[in-house]
């Protein structure tokens, strides 16, 4: 157990699958704290520091605190086969504490791997590669150009100051999502977002576009993983807001360690670390954070964040409980790293792909996905959307294929506005909807076949 199990209060030390109750060690730890009032509960030699979770919660000394968090990260990485030696990982970096820590940890892991490589004789295990992507949203937010330049400058210095192996940095404007369409991206993005009347819907659409853009960058540059810094607090907020938006069915897809429904699998190694812990760690280690770019959340998402914050203040392990509850929901088949069958990959690497806790989860049913937010669709949602199919216009078909949440908060209701909205969607999204790498769209088409009047058009 990397993170001295039950002694840490707000951590997600418990794995989602085994409903392990608090072990008697809790008592031992408490006793320990009572007898040595001012010593770290783990090493029992140094003075504990306040890790920001709770004022009375100073349990670990500086080193043990850091080791504990790194341990949670490392455990998530190895148990879920997130990073193997032949991988090339792209770290999504926003400048906030979570992504700063994930960058640091991935870097430390790579640094250790490099040292092992240098020391090894046969060099059979390569060192995984690391890149960093920063999505520049200045075209949507109203920051001054100086602020942005300063922020990007800071990011460059953060990345270049990391010890070798050196890491490529991609600063990508959000409007690049349209680069394959060959239009003025800025203008088009603005129009697309303006077409969404609901504040929450706008915010969520932007998040989907970000993810899509990260996929694009990763895919174009040969990366095999996208690493996100989503921490327990963030995931807890997602659990509640997804529930509030009626996305109960697809929720379990979003909150697992691994999400392979994308071309490049997305991994969340900080799933078990709380925002407070990560903040504290940044403070302790002097990791630089960019405050500027953390835009406030509005609408439903804002309401949910403040609700979760209040709950967390009332009970410091609340976020962790929320994530654990949602962790008990059944994940999807794509919530794991696909097995490497490629015989070109060195055996040593393949052997490294451990999967301790990875049990095959559920059927390999062919899910269909919402073309906007990529969430798996409930069967009932699918059939109910069929009834709304009067015409066979592209925009209508796309709209009918969306999840009910996107239909409500993102798609315009009025047909002509809807058509315009669909025409503005970026190419990668449209491609996904049309061809659907899991054959989702054809599946949908099959089901609506009887309702289509002419079958002459739209033959792929």
């Amino acid at each position: 157990m990397a993170c001295s199990s039950s002694t840490c209060n707000s951590s997600g030390c418990y794995k989602g699958y085994n409903e392990e109750e608090r072990k008697p060690t809790t008592r031992a730890a408490v006793n320990g704290r009572n007898s040595h009032q001012n010593l770290c509960v783990k090493c029992k030699s140094n003075e504990p520091i306040c890790c920001g979770i709770d004022r009375d919660d100073a349990k670990f000394c500086r080193d043990c605190f850091k080791t504990n968090i790194y341990g949670k990260f490392k455990q998530a990485v190895t148990y879920n086969a997130m990073i193997t030696p032949s991988d090339k990982v792209l770290v999504a970096f926003s400048g906030g504490p979570s992504s700063r820590v994930v960058l640091q940890f991935v870097h430390e892991m790579q640094y250790r791997a490099q040292r092992n490589y240098d020391a090894s004789k046969d060099k059979s295990l390569p060192v995984f590669g690391v890149g960093v992507a920063f999505v520049d949203e200045s075209s949507i937010h109203s920051f001054s150009s100086q602020e942005i330049e300063k922020a990007i400058e800071d990011i460059r210095s953060i990345v270049s100051n990391l010890a070798p192996p050196s890491k490529e940095l991609y600063v990508v404007p959000i409007e690049n999502i349209f680069s394959s369409d060959g239009f003025d991206g800025k203008e088009r993005l603005k129009k697309l977002l303006d077409a969404v009347s609901d504040d929450t819907g706008k915010e969520d659409l932007l998040i989907h576009l970000q993810l899509l853009l990260l996929q694009k960058v990763a895919s174009e540059n040969g990366y095999t993983r996208v690493v996100l810094g989503s921490c327990t607090s963030r995931i807890a907020c997602h659990v509640i807001s997804a529930t509030v938006k009626g996305q109960g069915y697809s929720l379990s897809a979003d909150i697992q360690y691994v999400d392979s429904r994308w071309e490049i699998p997305v991994v969340l190694p900080l799933r078990d670390c709380s925002a407070q812990e990560l903040n504290t760690l940044c403070g302790l280690d002097g990791l630089k954070i960019l405050e500027l770019l953390n835009g406030p959340r509005s609408g439903i998402n804002g309401l949910v964040s403040s609700f979760v914050k209040v709950l967390q203040e009332e009970n410091p392990s609340r976020e962790c409980t929320i994530v654990r509850t949602a962790g008990k929901l059944t994940p999807f088949h794509f919530n794991r790293i696909p097995e490497i069958h490629d015989s070109n990959v060195p055996l040593a690497t393949r052997r490294r792909q451990k999967r301790h806790s990875l049990k095959p989860n559920g059927s390999l049913s062919s899910e269909s996905f919402c073309p906007i937010c990529n969430s798996p669709l409930d069967k009932s949602n699918l059939s109910s959307s069929l009834s709304s199919l009067g015409s066979h216009q592209n925009s209508d078909i796309l709209a009918a294929a969306c999840c009910s949440s996107c239909q409500f908060q993102i798609l315009p209701k009025e047909p002509s506005l809807l058509e315009q909205f669909v025409s503005l969607l970026p190419q990668p999204l449209i491609t996904k909807a049309n061809h659907g790498d899991q054959g989702d769209f054809s599946l949908l088409r099959e089901q609506i076949q009887d309702f289509l009047l002419s079958d002459g058009e739209d033959e792929n």
């Binding site: 938006k245 069915y249 379990s252 609408g299 439903i300």
Partner: protein, 355 residues
């Protein structure tokens, strides 16, 4: 709430359903501006549809309405007797009340129920804690204080309701839980990590394997609309919270739901939808159901929870059976919940939930 029920402007705005009468209110669920008559119609019709689609009742059944005298159960009694007549459900309806023995609260609300008995012509049965258990809530609180008292009340109420229903020989109990209550319960079960209850709390009918199933015809009905209906129809109801339930924790969730409703009315329905669609594996083992050796009530343990609590009271050890201490009765607690209310220690609602 008053602000919403009164028309703000006296412009010539017409009801957007009938297009004839002047709009008198903004419907909380959809924000449509409609007239009173259309409101009554859609309100009642939606409940009728829920009853039909979910086949809540069969012709000839005897149905007890859990009546506390509060707004939800009063409106439920009124609407059910109305629909029963209008659509020939062929139901025998009864009012069933539980007298917990709380002076200044239940005695007053029971007066309301007694008036309802006459107003709607529904026979009323009152079962009291004093008769069933030998203790009133007043006496229990005097002994154990204001902490955990809701655990006693919740456990006792569930059983009292079932016993009352058995005395009336009814086939089913209908309770007044509304959409807000259910959405709130979904959230609370997530916050609390209770996956077993999370999977059950959105079912419209519960306890079908038990002696007397319960159903919630107001599952999709907004609390605000219930209040509005009662207000316009000038129904006689009692609206004071239980004097023993401070409700801090549930209050958070309730407040949150009201905030959500303000910016997105459909959020309440979306939460219920999420609750229905959560992917929860059905292989989770359920406690085996048996009967209490002492009183014969359904129980997964040797003794039912009520008997354990009662034994504690009678022996002067009121802590007996409270908390998860032995894990022995934690399973029983799961059963308690099925009415939608959550009678656990930190969170409970005795006042505005009707059983």
């Amino acid at each position: 709430m008053e602000a919403d029920t009164k028309p703000k402007k006296y412009g010539p705005r017409l009801c957007c359903i009938c297009n004839q009468r002047r709009a008198a209110l903004k419907r909380p669920k959809t924000l449509e501006q409609i007239c009173k008559e259309c409101f009554y119609e859609v309100f009642e019709e939606e409940i009728h549809q829920v009853i039909m689609e979910n086949q809540l009742f069969k012709p000839g059944e005897r149905i007890a309405i859990g009546a506390s005298g509060g707004k939800d159960s009063t409106v439920l009694a009124y609407v059910l007797s109305e629909l029963n007549r209008r659509h020939n459900y062929g139901l025998d309806l009864f009012l069933l009340s539980v007298d917990e023995g709380i002076t200044g609260y239940r005695d007053d609300s029971l007066e309301t129920v007694k008036r309802n008995e006459l107003q709607y012509g529904l026979p009323l049965k009152i079962v009291s804690y004093k008769d069933l258990y030998g203790w009133t809530m007043d006496e229990i609180v005097k002994m154990i204080g204001l902490k955990n008292n809701c655990t006693f009340c919740g456990v006792f109420r569930r059983q009292a309701l079932d016993r009352g229903a058995a005395l009336l020989k009814v086939d089913k109990v209908a309770t007044g839980h509304n959409a807000d209550d259910i959405a709130e319960t979904v959230l609370l079960n997530i916050l609390r990590g209770d996956i077993a209850r999370l999977s059950r709390c959105t079912s419209i009918t519960t306890g079908e394997d038990g002696p007397i199933p319960r159903c919630k015809p107001f599952k999709y009905t907004y609390e605000k609309e219930i209040v509005m209906y009662a207000y316009f129809k000038k129904l006689d109801y009692f609206s004071t919270e239980c004097i023993y339930s401070p409700n801090a924790y549930r209050g958070f969730a309730r407040e949150f739901i009201k905030d959500l409703e303000r910016i997105r009315p459909r959020a309440i329905l979306d939460i219920i939808k999420s609750g229905e669609n959560f992917r929860i594996s059905t292989s989770t083992k359920m406690p085996e159901q048996g009967t209490c050796e002492r009183c014969g009530y359904i129980s997964s343990q040797k003794w039912c929870k009520a008997c354990v609590l009662l034994e504690g009271l009678n022996r002067g050890l009121p802590k007996l059976g409270i908390g998860r201490s032995r894990g022995l009765n934690s399973d029983v607690k799961k059963d308690i919940k099925q009415g939608g209310g959550t009678e656990s220690i930190e969170s409970k609602q005795c006042g505005s939930l009707d059983f």
